[in-house]
Symmetry: C2
DNA sequence: ACCTGAACACCGTTCAAGT
DNA sequence: ACCTGAACACCGTTCAAGT
């Protein structure tokens, strides 16, 4: 069989933006951001005909990951009847995507009002009408949910960066809890009290609890359009 | 008068960690992260006797900025009677600190459960008791507020990085709104509807609206310890 | 003891040459 | 038209030499 690419080592033929983005995702997952060209089996400068620079490439990779993470939420039949549940599922999808790929969480915080972030904003905002949120409150409500999701994403990503072992987090949390317990009692009474709970807490449940707080607050808009 | 430092150009005498952190803050404010050594009037390697590396330095600078931003919130007499207002003020202090120094917002997202982030966590969490939140819910509640604040911080910082002109944001927002309006109507109906509101919206008010949603949700814990 | 600044290491990007 | 990879630019860090 005939190989069309000039480099016979390279699987899959010629380069394209899509292939470069895929390779970027695979590498960020496996090794961190280095070694992109090695993975693509190209010269170090080859990608610059397809993507402007590294920043743009990482944004495209983040966009692609979020797009897949959110795919299908809209179609689930139950979602239309239960916008509250749909928003929880959507949030969890993002949460899960970032748990698996911490670098996505890091990037999400850096593109305001664009691409990946906009997908989440749309997903959340598009369900507020069905939740009964009046038009006037939808922008603030979607923004609150988005900011919370992004904040949790960033913290999660940062924690994963400190402790690379995904899954077994108990040692890590125990160590952090010990730091908390050592803080100055005069300045950090609350932190010290929470130290005992840190090791046993479930990130995912805490994330959902946060979503629920915001949803409850938002639902208050239905009955009380304005306060004194 | 006698100069004790060996470099007569250098104001303030010998180096110290505190001076280096101060210089880092001033430089991050003015020029971005470059030119630290120039500002300190030292050789490029001089800081490494005082700080481990750049990452540690930026964390220390972020910590110092947040400490100052939060200073005094605890002492305000009205705060003790009004924990809700105290949390709003605390959030706004962080929000404001990041508006003035976008780099702080970027850094905040990168240190989980530590230093600067812990200060905010303590400030928020320490007021939940007075809000009437039961012990069992305080961890989740403080975490929700923290994540929202950090998410908003990150978005704000990212927006400021895209548009360096602090203060006059209307051009920038108008441009973003135009992008929103151009999105595929089938995939981004909500985003397109919000485009009209974007240019006129007030970041600060939207931030407070988010805090209020969460506080309202949290206050629901007082009367309903568990749901069906 | 502390600072200097040349040198090194690393990595993102360019571009002349190659196919 | 597309890719190669040496070269360049930039910047964080080290360390032998200087005071």
């Amino acid at each position: 069989m005939k190989t069309e690419s000039r480099n016979p080592q390279r699987p899959g033929g010629a380069l394209s933006k899509a292939r470069i983005v895929e390779a970027a995702i695979a590498i960020l997952d496996a090794e961190g951001e280095a070694a992109l060209s090695a993975r693509l089996a190209t010269g170090s400068g080859a990608i610059y005909g397809h993507v402007a620079d590294k920043k743009t490439l990482l944004a495209a990779a983040t966009d692609a990951v979020i797009e897949r993470a959110l795919a299908g939420v809209a179609e689930e039949p139950a979602s239309n009847d239960e916008p509250r549940e749909a928003i929880r599922v959507l949030g969890l999808r993002v949460f899960e995507a970032i748990r698996v790929r911490p670098w996505v969480g890091t990037r999400l915080a850096r593109e305001p009002w664009q691409s990946a972030t906009l997908q989440i904003f749309e997903g959340v905002g598009g369900r507020l009408e069905a939740l009964g949120v009046p038009q006037a409150g939808q922008f603030d409500a979607a923004s609150a949910l988005l900011n919370f999701i992004l904040g949790a994403a960033g913290q999660n990503a940062a924690a994963a960066r400190l402790d690379p072992r995904i899954g077994d987090r108990s040692d890590f949390l125990t160590a952090i809890a010990a730091q908390w317990a050592r803080r100055d009692p005069a300045r950090y009474p609350f932190v010290r009290r929470m130290a005992a709970q840190l090791a046993g807490h479930d990130d995912r449940e805490q994330f959902l609890a946060g979503i629920d707080f915001i949803l409850s607050g938002i639902e208050g808009l239905r009955k009380e359009p304005s306060l004194p």
